[in-house]
Amino acid sequence: MRKVVVTGMGCVSGLGADKTITWDSLVAGKSAIRPISLSPEGERELCFAGAAAPAVPDALRNLAARYEDKQLNVDLFSNFAAAATLEALEDSGIWGDAANLSDAAIIYGSASGGNAAMEAGYARLFLSRLNNVHPLTIPRLMNSAAASHLSMLFGIRGHCLAISSACASSAHAIGEAMHFIRSGRSSIVITGGSDASLTFGSLQGWKALQAMAPDMCRPFSIDRKGMVLGEGAATLVLEDEKHALKRGARIYAEVAGAGSTSDAAHLTQPNADRAAAAIRAAHADAQLDEDAPILFSAHGTGTRLNDRSEASAFQLAYPSSASKHVVIATKSAHGHMLGATGAMEFVIAILALTKQTAPPVLGFLGPDPECDLPLALKPTKLSCHAAVSASFAFGGLNSVLIAKTPNSG
């Protein structure tokens, strides 16, 4: 079986415009979550969120320096994807390499697509009482817009697919990308995910679910009050190991396994058994013993139900080894990036493996007896060769990814 490796990574979020700033912020315990105002007409709705707005100028400046304005005339979620992908391609050494890019594939996730494009259309129709919307409304809002944007912008001409599975979208995308390379269908796949859902309408949708925290995201903490929205994108360049070695690429990690299950039960209420089954499936695929020490990047939304269920899943999956592992939950720093979050957390998990350091869980007020996990509450030295990154999405869609340090078997 072909080995799949990561040769490039990029990300943009409230934490910053690239992975270096992101990592430095994470280990320094900085959170991007702060009060912001969202409204179709002005400052009307205050909420706490991990807004990427401060990072947008830097992220888009890099794009604008290389591409024409006209090419960037898309929804923000597509340009987030482009910014993260530009960083990943440059990192991998294939940006501008027409032959390798032309043969590459794209498998990219988004949960929400172009929220801003859709809401701008509604604002014209229902607020301004106009009877038309911008002609690019549909091409900007479709969930595959980011994948197409990447293809057109970077000249990637192979298989191009968008995956939408709520908050597991980009985790599923990375898993599928791994299988795509394993099966020999492409030597390089550009994968990850993007979402830009900090819009007034999207916020109302999340608030209506009563899932939002009034201030901070406090994964697995006593008195946690819910999730906090974030936004942005994360991209990984996945490559057949032989192809990567042949061109002398730097290898960050091996994408060693993926496991996915569905709950077949409830739209929003998670199921610990099926989440544990996805963790076990990923371990089996990666041929990684459950007792081997790992870094576990939790989905950790900070909602009462999800965190409790995830803690149960963790105990079910690691019945005799839970205390050997280190658990991180970085939504406390970047917010819930929805369809981008699985890729963002996988990038962070790989950086943590590379640096053998776990970034701390933020906002922790004290242990919850229902969430008995070995949490990293301060930057923690690691001594492990594998990271497990979990995404448990609405609709009961579970996706778990495993990365191993290069040459660790």
Partner: protein, 89 residues
Amino acid sequence: MNVERELQTLIGKKVKTHLEAGTKLMDAGLDSLDVIELAFDIEDRFKVQLPQIGTELISFTYGDLCRLVEKQLEAKADHALVAPAATIS
């Protein structure tokens, strides 16, 4: 309102080409989607409704486009003059 200057600005969002009256929009580098977006921008900027000519606009010259917009602006002005009388009667 200077129609030519406003149109140059709107088209300038798409292409940087200098436009002569006889320059066809397609020769200036606009594609089929660009002209649909341009028609939308013109309607928003000038508060007029263009005829539903869709992508046929691409074969217009810049001069044709200026005349079309001026014609729509004149029609709007005429309508504004007639409308109050109609209301009174």
